[in-house]
Point group: D3
Chain length 134, copies 6
């Protein structure tokens, strides 16, 4: 059922539009790595979208009211619920880099699974929203 090829080509550094190249450079600088992940290389087919999405990731995923590791866990929860394999793998790697271990990951999956279970129970049973939640 699966095909390893991306739907749009991965853009190499040599092929990249100057704006895409600038984003690649910033990714390397911010993440202190030589590597630019395949997601960004696929998105580089749309330099506007690449610039916008990288700026959004920097603004949203950094330190704020919530801790960056917590944000990775939230990201994984969404990605599991949507069934996005690449997203689960890339953000699990990011969460591990920020300190999550196997026990934490297993516990995270237990919470995600319970939430999907009770979401289904609520959607079927349709209890009215309690006054106390308002």
């Amino acid at each position: 059922m699966t095909d390893a090829r991306p739907l749009l080509p991965l853009v190499s550094d040599a092929e990249a539009d100057p704006r895409a190249q600038a984003v690649f450079d910033d990714i390397r600088a911010v993440r202190k790595t030589d590597r630019v992940n395949n997601f960004w290389r696929a998105l580089a087919n749309d330099p506007d979208g690449l610039e916008r999405t990288w700026a959004e990731v920097k603004a949203v995923m950094g330190e704020g009211a919530l801790d960056p590791l917590v944000k990775e866990l939230v990201y994984i929860a969404v990605s599991v619920t949507n069934g996005c394999e690449y997203c689960i793998r890339s953000h699990s790697a990011a969460a591990r880099a920020k300190g999550l271990d196997d026990a934490g990951l297993a516990e995270l999956f237990a919470v995600i699974a319970l939430a999907n279970k009770t979401n289904a129970l609520v959607t079927g049973l349709r209890p009215p929203v309690d006054e106390a939640f308002r």
Copy 2:
């Protein structure tokens, strides 16, 4: 499109099966409240399911490798992605009771929204999983 009635009746204390009554009592004791939320009253139509789900909530959502507030945020992320209104409202109330404020909730939604956006980009563009994530 909407109808306020639950699909199965909310079970009152008087109508509850003895096992359901014991769960209601434990909910009141653990949560230090007189109130039993409508979700549990709807689930009480299935006393086995009620016992099992309440035990699972106590085991999974408490202190562990992850903080209980973090678990509420993960729960909300799943519930938003699944579109479960009752779940969003009840776990937002639980997260607020554990210290989340308006700024934290707004930031949480920004992370959930970004994850749903990039999940869609990845699912469309289909970049291969990077070696580095393995």
Copy 3:
């Protein structure tokens, strides 16, 4: 958040295109009732779609390799997973008319909830498909 008005008007018998009127008549004859549900009246804005969908419902949901009540349970499982309230309510009513009682409905929701839970566990943990399933 909710608005009770349909997105396209419900089509009355008087307003119905002759093909839509013929479908309404067939629904009444097959179901032995005077009532045509709001779903069919909304779909009647597209007489081709109404004819095609009613024919499909008659062909797919009747007796076959699977029992009609079993098909209603499958329908409810899809509708809960997609979060479609109208669909849950209409097919729960259909399942009750075919003999499902409160205990059966509660048990159905327990299966749907467990499946949503283990789907999430599998999607996160990503075990390889066992040889034995092939």
Copy 4:
């Protein structure tokens, strides 16, 4: 896009925590087989979750108000709607072991497909819930 490795390691019998080992033994006894599926081996990274989930599967999926084969069909319907390949393959194998043949499986998919189609029609058209469903 796909990677055959699980996100957490599959736990062998030798590596299993004693509680996980006990669950593996019970799976073998109940299912009258030497094989423990990869799902359970992946879940064994969380022995609490493994115990709880196996107990839930035994309680929910056995004989009750609904027939065990019917429950497998409901499980497949949820798994197709969520797009969980492992779940579709494992529960199709389970349904075949309980008597489902190719014709039954093809008919099941036709019901699941129709439900997903009409769910979308209802979600777009938004007909109000009929009084008769209440």
Copy 5:
């Protein structure tokens, strides 16, 4: 099951942070209207997110390789598949303002419904990707 109150308060012009006020003014100027929709007023609890999202909407939804009306239809397709009522209603209104009539909307729903149906068939049947699609 439903509650009309937003999860975070709608921000009035008087309460808006200066950056949010600037976005509100730009929305009014670009859309040639006095009205600022509730979505933007809810998002104004996060002025950064409001600025970013409004800039993204302007960049993505305008004239480009694809026509603005076509983009509204794509938006509705996503929103129906995700079950987002507000999104379906607001973008149906936007599509009507760009020229979509009842017949076009009914036809759009037929395409969305067919896609959801065949997505389910493919997900269940799991045909391998044809060489010709590569």
Copy 6:
């Protein structure tokens, strides 16, 4: 996690039921090609479903109030949101055959991604539907 085998066998021309063979012939005639895609060969296990679905595709996806290319874009939007790889690949190929280029595809994904993002924001924030959308 993935397995290349279909869940039901692909039906060859020689194995096809006469009704399935007639559909295969019509697909070849309408599409002016010798090739019958794997989706149709998998669906041929259910000749009724094959006839019905092919007739529906011909009726819904052709010229009408909406342009056939626009319908392909809508189809892709649904398929990305549901995470159906085969569907994304087959309808991207169809859209390219109708004139979509890389820039159009990249722009399409930007719209789909934005819609998934704002769907999540709306589902979390729950703004009430504006009077103006009614």
